[in-house]
Symmetry: C2
Subunit: 229 residues, 2 copies
């Protein structure tokens, strides 16, 4: 049940619809990430690496449950709330199917990093309960450390892969931005929320600034791998 003290922002139907959209997107993103991480684990050079990717998938599953529960508390069928985001996530994955282990590993790291940055930014505009829930779905640094260690070692062994993987990182970023923009254009709740000025500080300028920060963090992330952005 939603505590009565938390109900206030949800009496605004625009806000409620936007939160349902956000959690629906987070939920579908997690479901598709579970599928892709496990699939990409098939390309792992060792059983240990495969199990590492399966572990990332299992961690995503654990974070999916509270999102499903919260959508139910908000009075919507959780999987129905996720459906509008299926096409965008499916297209992202279809357009960025890794051709080898390295591309899969970087996709896990970059895709996760972008999603975390985006959700962390958005969480700042939300009510406390939704914010805490969204922040709880963010990945800890263990996954990033694993990928960074593996990729840096891989590049040391075979420097020729660095150029290809740097290009791959740019393609992932480009595809993520494209799909995010397509989704934003299709979801009226989000646009209405922004233009209505309901949420303190959330306007199109703020979104532009947010995208700039997310892009900068992507560049930092690629640099950690030892790759040009």
């Amino acid at each position: 049940m939603v505590a009565s003290s938390e109900l206030a922002p949800f009496t605004d139907p625009l806000y409620r619809a936007a939160v349902v959209d956000l959690l629906g997107a987070v939920g579908y993103g997690e479901i598709s990430a579970i599928e892709r991480l496990t699939e990409d684990g098939k390309m792992a050079p060792s059983l240990e690496d495969k199990v590492a990717l399966q572990g990332m998938a299992a961690a995503q599953h654990a974070k999916l449950r509270p999102v499903i529960e919260r959508l139910g508390e908000l009075g919507v069928e959780p999987f129905t709330a996720m459906e509008p985001f299926a096409a965008a996530f499916d297209a992202f994955h279809a357009h960025t199917a890794p051709s080898d282990w390295w591309e899969g590993l970087i996709k896990a790291y970059v895709g996760d990093g972008l999603a975390n940055d985006f959700y962390r930014e958005v969480a700042g505009f939300l009510d406390a309960q939704t914010r805490d829930l969204v922040l709880s779905t963010l990945e800890d640094s263990g996954r990033a450390d694993f990928v960074v260690g593996r990729v840096r070692a891989g590049i040391e062994t075979d420097y020729a892969i660095a150029g290809r993987l740097a290009l791959w990182g740019r393609r992932l970023m480009g595809e993520a931005v494209t799909q995010a923009q397509l989704v934003a254009g299709q979801r009226d709740a989000l646009a209405d929320l922004i233009t209505s000025g309901h949420l303190q500080g959330l306007d199109f300028t703020a979104i532009g600034d947010m995208m700039a920060r997310i892009t900068h963090r992507h560049v930092d992330r690629m640099a950690r791998l030892g790759l040009a952005h």
Copy 2:
């Protein structure tokens, strides 16, 4: 670390090798089940059903960790201990790739049931610590209940699938027995352990009885689905 009170049976190298083999097989079986459950979830008719299969995969992952730790305690590289079983499990999955959601669902249930029955039987011959570990990897009844509910509802809606799925259950059983026999024939530790008479009550007659019990339970399991064995 292995408690000293538990070390006694492991001073017997035959016993130790057989336990390493058993845990290696359990571990590889779990890794391949995680991969297959997630893959078969792609055929789910709804997001909810897909998430149910992903949840089974996540539960398998949680059970894999203590197996990996125990193999390490026994002084072997866990993933090296699993490798000898890769071919058999991979062949089982390659020969039983489900062609639709129903076949995938029944495979999750039958495959899991057979593995549970086999491990439960074998556990009875083992030292307490290994027995408890093996028993902890067995699936609870939640998964079976989910599959039974879904398959029975599916057969009610479309009785034509019942005959095909009954055949499918027989094929899964046949393939599992074939692969188990191939593995048994290749692993000297197991055969040596049995012929040596080291373990009270474990001989070829006992194994024949065990196989009979496992077969009976498979028949019961198919009957629960409303399918002829």
